[in-house]
């Protein structure tokens, strides 16, 4: 059953993308479509005292306008993800209050975007500014301005989760390392911005959406609720998606389009421009983490206490997500037996937070790996040696961490050793010594991480106290068509990960075909793609959950083919195999039937089917990852299901005079179990690592005290270019997961998790003579210069 899976095949989707024949959201044109623009609040926090949009109608080419009051009258509020003490009504447009600069307050649909923007300028809004709150710790204070006064607090969630004997661990310890770490706001910013087209059919009272939303299952539920329309009268289609990384969802924008389309009687398209994307779509939570690491003098880590304040901006749709995911990864790859995690999910008057590449794990890994590096310094142990002493060993797998994460397989020590070898760690320590003698500042940094895949939504019961969604599941369809070729579809829309190729590889193996014979539908269409609420692109779940759906559907088709072939060939099913486009008797050349012939029986010549066998050769299969479990009574939970791991080694040079940091080398050794397509896997490692390097050195959303975003364009919010990063050198180990359908694990987030910590350690190492501690990101040249200047 193997052959195509595991091969580094070039991708099937590339020919069209290279020729400029991809079809992204803004390439979709619906007949008569109008273009929407949104009026956004200039204030971070204000009451809307009045809004007058009457002049809009006078502008030629304008077809509809929507205000917050309209939204409240025409739709139901968007239900917040977590329950709050009092209901917090949140519509697709701000109604009486704005809570971040950039929050939409009105929208216009016109013949083109330029006209829509002209129309926005005629809308008069009367704001009564309120004090902004931009610092998450300030937002915790009882005297803080409140985003929702009725709630009485800005804290959406606060809890302490403790596992194991934390007090005992700290009492037994020879020492405790205490540090405070901070992470900045940043975002993955896919190059294609978010958008949607809504089309309303008045006859059917039905809506169709085209959108690059990566969570169609979730979004359809929200749309149905807010529009008051059953899901059977909603259709959602995703075209090619130009990158997502978690950022591509904003149900409110689809609702705005839907309401405008209904009003205007024409389809309405909205595509965010880059300023809207950077200022108002979503940022990864910034925050502060206080870490206490209890240790024995030989370096054994005994216990970990973390206090985590996550700044969610104005986010009611997915708060606590960063906290929960940090908890699932809190001990990283280490055997730490006692853990306490105090979490705050806090509202501030800033852009809503949301999923990002890594969602919280980059910060969690940064904090833990920095603590480990500092512990090594304190104990004068080699940082690699300290890690090796504390890793969960291969033989201990599957290993369950105190909060309940199960590390399924992997050899963390071997990964690190291979990385040090590939990096030539010893050689570079010598070169570093020579360089130091010459006055050059070279630094070497190490960071290692676990990388989870597959989110179990039951983990949210920790927050909400009840189970609304749970498990990890996905659905797929495989159909052998009447002409003997194959069509497949997956409820998870690809955003650049190559599913059209990998799914074809998997199906080809199951059916004895080649990937060229298998057409994988581009994206998601709720009318034809099988899907669940849980369907979508998130949490690296493709390799660990989606493949189960694909394999299940392919196998159902395979089994049926074999039954039909057995009947027609008068052979036993067990003597048959599918290979080279045929069903044939194993070892007997000439005794076989091409799949096309079996399809003719199944679809056309149905009297030839085995008795009781229904016609057709199509299967839909939904796979539930069996690793997902409900919340335990002791509040443990497998919030994610399988774990890859990686080790990063980074070499930097610092310019003494300017503080500029140059990354000379970055080596990654990773283990994501069985690699379904090594070419695609390696690309994921490159790309995710560069995300981490950007966060380490360049990217930061900075706000002033009034909640105004200062880094609001690509001129000021700095993404890494090809000139800023080196070749990422990649090597791999493969410890398959014993628990996933194909032994594969996740790899999409990989490098983004430990890369910032590796860079931080390298910078610290370069400045070792100055006894610098890197506690926050990004590491800008000015910060380095200030360290160089001394205290």
């Amino acid at each position: 059953m193997t052959g195509w899976v595991g091969r580094p095949l070039a991708r099937k989707e590339d020919a069209r993308l290279l020729a400029g024949r991809g079809r992204y959201l803004d390439d979709v044109c619906r007949p008569g479509q109008l273009h929407a623009a949104m009026l956004r609040s200039p204030h971070a926090h204000a009451r809307i005292a009045g809004l007058d949009a009457r002049e809009v109608a006078a502008i030629p080419g304008v077809h509809a306008v929507l205000t917050g009051a309209d939204a409240a009258a025409l739709s139901h509020p968007i239900r917040p993800l977590i329950p709050t003490a009092v209901p917090l009504d949140d519509w697709c447009l701000a109604v009486d209050r704005v809570r971040y600069a950039g929050e939409p307050v009105a929208a216009v649909a016109a013949v083109d975007r330029a006209t829509a923007e002209d129309a926005l300028e005629t809308i008069r809004v009367e704001y009564e500014p309120l004090p902004a709150v931009v610092d998450p710790e300030a937002a915790l204070r009882p005297d803080s301005p409140l985003l929702y006064p009725a709630l009485g607090t800005n804290v959406l969630w606060h809890d302490v989760l403790a596992y194991g004997d934390v007090a005992g661990a700290f009492a037994r310890a020879d020492g405790v390392l205490r540090e405070r770490f901070e992470i900045q706001r940043y975002a993955s910013t896919p190059l294609e911005t978010f958008g949607a087209i809504a089309e309303y059919d008045a006859g059917l009272d039905a809506y169709t959406f085209w959108t690059n939303d990566q969570r169609p299952g979730l979004t359809l539920a929200i749309l149905a609720d807010s529009l008051g329309v059953p899901q059977s009268r909603l259709r959602l289609i995703t075209p090619d998606i130009g990158g997502a990384f978690g950022n591509k969802r904003r149900p409110a924008y689809l609702l705005v389009c839907a309401l405008l389309a209904r009003r205007a009687g024409r389809p309405v398209k909205y595509v965010e421009d880059r300023l809207e994307n950077l200022g108002a779509l979503m940022h990864a939570c910034n925050g502060v983490m206080d870490v206490e690491l209890a240790y024995r003098s030989d370096g054994t880590m005994l216990g970990l206490r973390v206090r985590d304040v996550a700044d969610e901006g104005k986010n009611l749709i997915s708060p606590t997500q960063h906290n929960l995911i940090k908890l699932g990864n809190i001990v990283n790859g280490y055997r730490i037996g006692a853990v306490s995690y105090e979490a705050y999910s806090v509202l501030t008057t800033k852009c809503p937070s949301g999923a990002n590449r890594g969602i919280g794990k980059p910060f969690m890994c940064f904090a833990v790996e920095r603590a480990v590096a500092l512990l090594a310094r304190r104990l004068r142990l080699d940082p690699a040696e300290l890690r090796l002493r504390n890793y969960v060993a291969r033989e201990e797998m599957p290993y369950t961490t105190p909060p309940g994460a199960q590390y399924d397989s992997g050899d963390y020590a071997a990964t690190l050793r291979r990385a040090l070898e590939r990096f030539d760690y010893r050689g570079w320590r010598e070169r570093q010594a020579h360089a130091r003698a010459e006055g050059r500042l070279l630094g070497i940094g190490i960071a290692t991480s676990v990388e989870p895949a597959g989110t179990n939504l039951a983990s949210y019961e920790l927050i909400t106290g009840r189970r609304a969604a749970s498990g990890s599941a996905e659905a797929a369809m495989v159909r052998l068509e009447p002409d003997g070729r194959v069509r497949a579809a997956l409820g998870d829309p690809a955003c650049g990960q190559g599913y059209e190729t990998v799914v074809a590889q998997i199906v080809a193996d199951e059916l004895g075909l080649t990937p060229a014979d298998v057409h994988v539908e581009r994206g998601f269409d709720s009318a034809t793609t099988p899907w669940l609420y849980l369907s979508g692109n998130y949490s690296n779940k493709f390799s660990v959950t989606d493949v189960g759906a694909v394999v299940g559907a392919a196998r159902a088709v395979r089994d049926k083919l074999l039954r039909i072939a057995a009947h027609r060939l008068e052979a036993a099913v067990d003597d048959l195999e599918l290979a080279e486009g045929q069903a044939r008797v194993r070892g007997v050349p000439g005794r076989g039937l091409p799949l096309r012939e079996l399809a003719r029986t199944a679809y056309a010549d149905v009297l030839g089917l085995p008795p009781g066998e229904p016609p057709g050769l199509e299967a839909r299969h939904a796979h539930q990852n069996p690793l997902a479990q409900p919340l335990g009574a002791d509040r443990t939970v497998r919030s994610q299901l399988v774990f890859s791991n990686a080790a990063h080694c980074c070499l930097v040079e610092i310019d003494r005079l300017t503080g500029m940091v140059r990354i000379l080398r970055h080596v990654v050794v990773h283990d994501c179990g069985r690699e379904l397509n090594p070419l695609i896997v390696e690309g994921m490692v490159h790309g995710s690592t560069v995300h981490g390097l950007g966060a380490a050195l360049l990217e930061e959303f900075r706000y002033d005290a009034n909640g105004q975003l200062l880094t609001s364009t690509f001129m000021d919010y700095l993404k890494p270019t090809a000139a800023d990063v080196p070749d990422i050198e990649v090597d791999r180990l493969e410890h398959p997961s014993p628990f996933t359908p194909l032994g594969a694990k996740g790899v999409g987030e990989g490098g983004s998790i430990p890369a910032p910590a590796a860079v931080a350690s390298a910078v610290e190492d370069a400045l070792a003579e100055l006894d610098v501690t890197v506690r926050s990101l990004p590491i800008t040249p000015e910060r380095v210069w200030r360290w160089l200047r001394g205290r």
């Binding site: 070039a10 991708r11 989707e13 590339d14 020919a15 993308l17 290279l18 020729a19 400029g20 024949r21 991809g22 079809r23 992204y24 803004d26 390439d27 044109c29 330029a114 993955s188 910013t189 896919p190 190059l191 294609e192 911005t193 090619d240 998606i241 130009g242 990158g243 990384f245 421009d273 880059r274 955003c495 650049g496 990960q497 190559g498 070419l679 695609i680 390696e682 690309g683 490159h686 790309g687 995710s688 690592t689 560069v690 995300h691 364009t713 690509f714 001129m715 993404k719 270019t721 090809a722 000139a723 800023d724 990063v725 070749d727 990422i728 490098g751």
Partner: protein, 157 residues
């Protein structure tokens, strides 16, 4: 006049349109001519997604008014693609897995095309410097550099 007529050539074809003066070349290409291969990523000239060739030189289509292109020769990714199959540069991208979501790719190809037309054997550093004006959020650039190197070697033969 807030509208103006412009006559230009796009991918070898004569085009004549009357457009609003404020309409960008990117919007003309995408919406008026249906050439959606050129993508818009920022509308302030930084991300490079909209890079096309104007009179043989790369330019940001988001920073050109369509009406400015009177008499100009514009080449988009559609014009860099042969009638059948893929160009040597495109095929090199495919083999090296130099694209993931594909959104930066047309602009990246235009930039690579200009580089290789002027420098038949660029070093890795020269390649990185040349594409530093094209942001890619997916690939981390490693395979793009490899693909351009490979294309250079192949074109030299």
């Amino acid at each position: 006049m807030t509208v103006a007529r412009v006559r230009l050539r796009v991918n070898g074809h004569a085009v004549e349109r009357t457009v609003a003066a404020r309409r960008s070349l990117a919007d003309l290409l995408r919406e008026d001519l249906g050439l959606t291969g050129t993508h818009v990523g920022c509308e302030h000239g930084v991300c490079g997604a909209c890079t096309v060739l104007v009179d043989g030189r790369t330019a940001r289509a988001c920073l050109l008014l369509a009406v400015q292109l009177e008499g100009a020769e514009v080449t988009t990714v559609e014009g860099l693609t042969p009638p059948e199959g893929l160009s040597v540069l495109q095929e090199s991208f495919r083999e090296c897995h130099a694209l993931q979501c594909g959104f930066c790719t047309p602009g990246m190809l235009a930039t690579a095309h200009e580089l290789l037309a002027e420098n038949a054997a660029p070093t890795r550093d020269e390649i990185r410097a040349a594409i530093a004006g094209n942001l890619c959020m997916c690939t981390g650039y490693v395979n793009i550099v490899r693909a351009i190197e490979l294309a250079a070697r192949r074109l030299a033969r």
